[in-house]
Amino acid sequence: MAVKIANSTIRGGVGASHPHDSARLHVTGGATYTDDIPEPRNILHAALGVSSQPHARIISIDLEAVLAAPGVVAVITAEHIPGENNYGAVVADDPILAPDLVQYVGQPIFAVAAATVDQARQAAGLAQVEYAALPAILDAETAVREKSFILPSETLRTGDSRSAIELAPHRLQGKVNLGGQDQFYLEGQIALAIPREGGDLFIYSSTQHPGEIQHAVAHAIGRQAKDVVVECRRMGGAFGGKESQPALIAAVAALLAQKTGAAVKLRLDRDADMIVTGKRHDFVIDYDVGFDDRGVILGINFCYASRCGMSADLSGAINDRTMFHTDNAYFLSDATIESHRCKTHTVSNTAFRGFGGPQGMFGIEYVVDEIARQLQVDPLDVRKVNFYGSDTRNVTPYKQIVDDNIIHEIVDKLEASSDYRQRRVEIAQWNRENDVLKRGIALTPVKFGISFTATHLNQAGALVHIYTDGTVHLNHGGTEMGQGLFTKVAQVVAEEFQIDIDQIKVTASDTSKVPNASATAASSGSDLNGKAAQRAARKIKKRLVKFATEHFSVSAKDVIFANNKVTVGEQSLPFQELIKLAYMARTSLSSTGFYRTPRINYDRSTFSGRPFFYFAYGAAVSEVVIDTLTGENRLLRSDILHDCGDSLNPAIDLGQVEGGFVQGVGWLTSEELWWNQDGVLKTHAPSTYKIPTSSDVPDDLRVELLADSANREKTIYRSKAVGEPPLMLALSVFHAIKDAVAGVTEGKRSPHLDAPATPETILTSIENLSVGLDQ
C-alpha cells in the first residue's frame, strides 16, 4: 500500500531521482565548507599540543617557547578553562585539555592561537612537557584480563544457552579479532568561533550534532545554551566521526576566542585528526555454539570485548547495539551475549556508520560460516535454516518481535539473480585446477534495527517559512554530511506544497532555528526530519486551505494543490498567487513541525522491549580471487539487493548503498589501524591508512533496490532508513575471502581469518591452514 503520488509533474517530488541539492555547487567548487567561510577580521588560527605518552602524570608543562614563537597570541591549558573541562556528553570523563593525567598518545594538553595556521602548528611543537609514565593498557584482551572497563560489562540473555550448547549434537568454540576503522571523512574536523556581543559566541562547526556543540561550548566557557549559536551548512563527510568528536574542536576554538576576543579557527590537519579523534571500536570476539546436523543454532554464547579507549564517549550505546545485532537475521532461541567495554590507554573510540551493529553482525556471520565448514555444507544453507521466521522463530534476544521480515524474499531473489549455486560449483572446480590463485564466493544477509536505542533521541523539529513570492525556506534539526538528507526533506516539502524543489531553499542547521535536535545519526535523518518538515508544511497548508475556502467560498475538498498550482473550485492559480492573497489576508506563512517516533519503548535495565521501529534488510553476494603466495586479493563481482522501503530518492539511496558497501569493504580488507608498542598510531594519514580507491570497486557491480517493498510502518512515504545498513553488505566480501582461503584445502578445512583481511592476514591464514594449526 505504497503512497505513490499520481500524475505529479513537479520537479523533485517524492520518489524522484533528483540530484543532490548541492550537486552543482559541489562540481563547481562553490559549496562552502567551514574552512571556506570568509574569515572575520583579525582571525586567529589554533593548534593543539598533545600528549606523547599513552598513560602518564603530567609533572610540568613549559610553554615558554610556545608563547615566544612567532605569531603566537595565546596559549591555554586546563587551568584556563572558566567552565567545565569536559566535552563528554554521556559521562563527564572527556577533558577538553588534560589537567594532570594523560591517557592516550595524542590527547590534547594545551592549545595555541596564532596569526597563521603554520605558526600555530609550529608553536604547538615547542612545548616541554615532563611526564611520569604510568602502566598503559593498549588492547582489549589485556584490558579484559586486568578487568579494566570504562563502563560496567553487560549481559543479554535469552533462554538457557548453557544447557542448549551442552545438549547440542555439535559444538564449536573460537575467537576472532576484528579491527577498527577510521572514518576518514575527506574534510577534517574543524570549528570557527566568533565572539558576539556580551561574550556570546557564534560557532561554525563541522558537526552531526550542533545542539551538542552548543552545550559543550556553553559549559566550557562558563555560560549557558542561550549564549551560544551553532551553525552547520554541510560537512565534507562525517560517518559518525562528527557525532561527539567535534565538541572538542569547537570547545577549544571557543575557549581561545573567549580568551583573545578574536575569532578563532581550529582545523586539524589529517594526522592530528586521525591521532586525536576516535574511530570504530575494534573487538575481540569469543564464541561457543551448539548446533544440529543441519546447522541450526541451538545455543550460543558470545563474549564481545571492545576497545573503548580512555573514556566512555558513546561506547555504552555502541556496545549495546553490538549486542542487539549479534542475531543479524538469525533466530537465536538460547543465547548469552556478554559485552565488555574495555578501558584502554588509546584514543576514545566513537560512532562510525553502524554504531557497533556491524561488529555484532560480524560475530554471528563468522560463527555461521564456521558451522557450515564444520558440517561441510554450503554456508548459505546454514544461513537459511537459521533465518528468522515470519510467524514463529521471530523473537529477538531482546524480545522484540520481528514483524516485518523480508529476508527470505531478498535472499531467494538474489541467490537466483546472481547464479550463486552455479557459480559456487564452477568456482570449486576452478580452484581444483588452480594452485596459486583461489576464488571464493559468499552470500550474506543484513537485518539492521532502525531507531536510536536511547528512546528520547527519536524526536525532530523543523521550521518552514513561505515568502510572499511563493518560495520556501526550509530548516530542520538534521545535518547534511553528503547523505542527501537536505534533498530528501526538500522533496517531502515540495511534494506537500506541490511546487518544484528549486522553489525551496534548505538552510544550514542552526541551533537558533530548531532547538534541541538530536544528532543526525542512527540512519534516522530522513525518517525524523522528513516527518517533522511534512508536519510543518501541513500546518501551513491547512491555513492556506482555510484561507482559500473563505476567500473563494468553496469547501476544503475543492482546494487542490498540484503541479505548482492551486485549484480552487473552477479556477486555478499559481502557487505564489495564492500565497500573495493569503498574505494580504494576514495568514501566517510560517510554522514549526515536530515528530516523535511512535511504537518504540525499551527498558535498558532488562535489555528488552521494542528498541527499533522497524528493520532494514539487504543481502549481497561477492566473489573474490586471492593469491595464495602473497595474500593479495581482488573483488571480482558483487551483487546487491537492498531494501529502502519506498525510496524517497532512488538515486540518493543507491549512492548510500554503494558508498556504504565500499566503505565496509575497506573496513574488512585494506583499512588497517596499526599502533606500535608504545601506543602510537602509525597509520594516521592516507599514505599509511588505505581506504578503497576506484580500482578496488569491481567492474561487475550489480546493485538494486528492492522493488515494491513499502515499509510496513508508517514512515515518511513508507521509505526506510538507508545510511548505515548497506555497510554490512561488505561482510559478503570478507566471507568470500574466507571461502577462497578454504579453497586451498578444497574446502575441507576451515581457515581462521581475522579482520581486516589484509594480504598479510590472508597469507597468515593460509599458512596456518596448511600446517594444520587450524581445524
Binding site: F184, L629, A651, E760
Partner: protein, 511 residues
C-alpha cells in the same frame, strides 16, 4: 649565503590563471599552490584533505608547452605539495576555471551532476580536475584507464561507481558542430599546435610570452629559491651553494614542509631545465634525464621493458607521477622506493655531476646506508642509463601493498634471470622493503647461479634468500610477512618464468 648569479636573473614568477598573466614578486618559495589559492586568493574551491599528495582533494591542472606531441599538455598535480614558484611559466586551472562565464557547466561537471557523482562534495573538485585532465588527454578511456586517472583521488562517500560513470558520460556533451563556439577547455582530447582553436592559440601565445627562461631567483624572509634553465647553471649554483636542497618534482620534499614543518633555507629547482628531462635511446642504452617526470619515463620504459608496466602504473598516482621525477626517486634513497630494485637488476648506472666533473656509478653501488647515498656535497644525479634488455633475460617486478593503487610497497621485488638449457647463466635479484636500502639478494643469486632452474633449485634459493635480509616490522607489514612474501615472490617469478598455465596475479586475473 646567496650564490653568485648571472646578470639576467629574473626576480618574478609569472603564470596564467583565468586567461590572465599573474606576476608575483615576493613570494614565499615553500608556500604551496594550495595555500596560495585558498589563503591568498580566497579561491577556496580547491580543498585540502591530507596535505601530503595522497587524497586528491587539492588536484589542479597545469598546462605546459611541450614538443612531443607539439602542443599544450595538461596534467593534474597535487597543489598541496607543489610549491608556488614552480608555476613559473605555466598555466594553472582550478575547479573555478571550468564552468563557462554563462554558468554553463563543463562537460565533466555536467556528467558528475547527472551521474550523482558527489555526495558530501568535498572530494568532488579534485575528482573533477582529474577527470578534466583525462578528458583533455584521452578520447574514450576504458575502465582501467579511468581507474588509473582516478588512482590519486579518494572518495569516502560514493563508492566510485557514479564517478566512473561520469568519466564515461562526460564525452557525451561535446558536439563537433559548436567546436569553435565552445571554450577549448570543453573540447575533449589533446590538441596539437596546428589544430588549435582561436582561444587556445591565444593561451599558447601568452604561455610563450612567459616562458621560464634564464635563472629565477627569489628571496623571501631569508629563504633563497633558484630556478636555473640549464644543467650547467644548475651545476654552478650547486657548487656555490652545496647545502641547497635540490627540488625536482617536490613529491618527497613537499611533505618535509607540509608534514614535518621543515624550514628549507635554500632551494634549487630543476624543473625549468628542459634538457634535464630528456629521454633518449642509443643502440645499447636508454638514457633518462634525472628530471624526467615518471609520467614521461613510463611510456619509454614500457616500450623496452613491458614487464614493468604494472609496477609503474602502481607507482603513486598520475598527479604524483606528473610531478615526481626518476632522479628524485633514486636520490631520495627510500628503502621502499619503487624504481630502484628493478633498475638495480637491469644494471642501471647513474651519471653524477659536480661542477664540471662527471662520474658514472652503478646504481647497485649508490646506496650506502639508510637514506645515505654516494652523492658528494654539491653533486647531483644528471642521468640514469639503463642497458637495453638482453634478449635471453627474463625480467619481472612485483609490488606488494595493502592496496593496489597509490600505496607504498611493503615489499618490492625485481628479478632478471638468464638461462642456457635451463641452467642459470646470469641472475640479478633485488628487493625493496627488506633492508635499510634497496638491495640485491646476493646469497640468493649465488644459490641460483649455474644451477638448474627447477623446483629443487628454487627451494635452495628460497632458503638462501632468508639469509640475505633481516626485515623490520612496521605498519605496512611484519618482518615475518616480508620474509615469507619475499620468498613467495621468488616462487612466483619461477612460476611465471615457465610461462605455463599457472595463473599468479590477482590483478591480471580475468582481465
Amino acid at each position: 649565503m646567496a650564490a653568485k648569479l648571472p646578470k639576467d636573473v629574473r626576480k618574478t614568477i609569472r603564470f596564467i590563471l583565468d586567461g590572465e598573466i599573474v606576476e608575483l614578486r615576493n613570494c614565499d618559495p615553500t608556500r604551496t599552490v594550495l595555500q596560495y589559492l585558498r589563503e591568498d586568493l580566497q579561491r577556496v574551491g580547491t580543498k585540502e584533505g591530507c596535505a601530503e599528495g595522497d587524497c586528491g582533494a587539492c588536484t589542479v591542472v597545469i598546462g605546459e608547452l611541450v614538443s612531443v606531441p607539439d602542443g599544450l599538455q595538461l596534467r593534474a598535480i597535487n597543489s598541496c605539495i607543489q610549491f608556488l614558484p614552480t608555476l613559473d611559466g605555466k598555466v594553472l586551472f582550478t575547479i573555478e576555471s571550468l564552468a563557462a562565464e554563462s554558468g554553463e557547466l563543463h562537460p565533466v561537471q555536467q556528467a558528475m551532476v547527472e551521474c550523482h557523482g558527489s555526495q558530501c562534495g568535498f572530494c568532488t573538485p579534485g575528482f573533477v580536475m582529474s577527470l578534466f585532465a583525462l578528458y583533455k588527454s584521452a578520447a574514450h578511456p576504458d575502465r582501467r584507464e579511468i581507474d588509473n586517472a582516478l588512482a590519486g583521488n579518494l572518495c569516502r562517500c560514493t563508492g566510485y561507481r557514479p564517478i566512473v560513470d561520469a568519466a564515461r558520460k562526460m564525452y557525451d556533451y561535446h558536439s563537433t558542430e559548436n567546436k569553435d563556439k565552445s571554450s577549448w577547455l570543453s573540447v575533449p582530447g589533446s590538441t596539437v599546435l596546428d589544430e588549435l582553436s582561436v582561444t587556445e592559440a591565444q593561451q599558447v601565445d601568452k604561455l610563450r610570452s612567459i616562458a621560464a627562461t634564464g635563472t629565477l631567483h627569489l628571496e623571501f624572509d631569508g629563504k633563497q629559491y633558484y630556478a636555473p634553465d640549464s644543467i650547467e647553471e644548475l651545476a654552478a649554483l650547486l657548487r656555490q651553494n652545496p647545502d641547497a636542497c635540490i627540488l625536482s618534482g617536490g613529491t618527497d620534499i613537499g611533505l618535509w614542509v607540509t608534514k614535518q614543518h621543515r624550514h628549507l633555507a635554500s632551494v634549487i629547482y630543476t624543473g625549468n631545465i628542459q634538457s634535464f628531462k630528456q629521454i633518449s635511446v642509443s643502440a645499447s642504452h636508454l638514457t633518462i634525464g634525472a628530471g624526467a617526470p615518471i609520467s614521461d619515463v613510463m611510456p619509454m620504459l614500457s616500450q623496452y621493458f613491458p614487464e614493468l608496466d604494472e609496477l609503474f602504473l602502481r607507482f603513486a598516482s598520475p598527479p604524483i607521477r606528473n610531478a615526481g621525477t626518476l632522479g628524485g626517486n633514486i636520490a631520495n634513497a627510500s628503502p621502499i622506493g619503487d624504481s630502484m630494485p628493478v633498475l638495480i637488476v637491469l644494471g642501471a648506472e647513474l651519471l653524477l655531476r659536480s661542477g664540471d666533473n662527471n662520474r658514472v656509478i652503478a646504481l647497485d653501488d649508490f646506496y650506502l646506508d639508510y637514506q645515505k647515498t654516494a652523492l658528494a656535497r654539491g653533486e647531483f644525479v644528471q642521468e640514469v642509463r639503463i642497458p637495453l634488455p638482453a634478449t635471453d633475460a627474463t625480467v619481472r617486478t612485483y609490488k606488494l601493498s595493502k592496496r593496489f593503487d597509490q600505496d607504498i610497497s611493503a615489499v618490492c621485488a625485481a628479478f632478471s634471470v638468464a638461462f642456457n638449457e635451463n641452467i642459470v647463466t646470469n641472475v640479478r635479484i633485488a628487493y625493496g622493503g627488506m633492508a635499510a636500502i634497496p638491495k640485491r639478494a646476493v646469497k640468493c643469486e649465488l644459490a641460483l647461479l649455474g644451477k638448474q632452474w627447477d623446483d629443487a633449485g628454487i627451494l635452495e634459493a628460497v632458503s638462501a634468500l632468508d639469509r640475505d635480509f633481516a626485515p623490520l616490522t612496521d605498519m605496512r607489514a611484519s618482518d615475518g610477512y616480508r620474509r615469507n612474501a619475499a620468498a613467495n615472490l621468488l616462487r612466483r617469478f619461477y612460476i611465471d618464468s615457465k610461462q605455463g598455465e599457472t595463473l599468479t596475479n590477482v590483478y591480471h586475473y580475468g582481465r
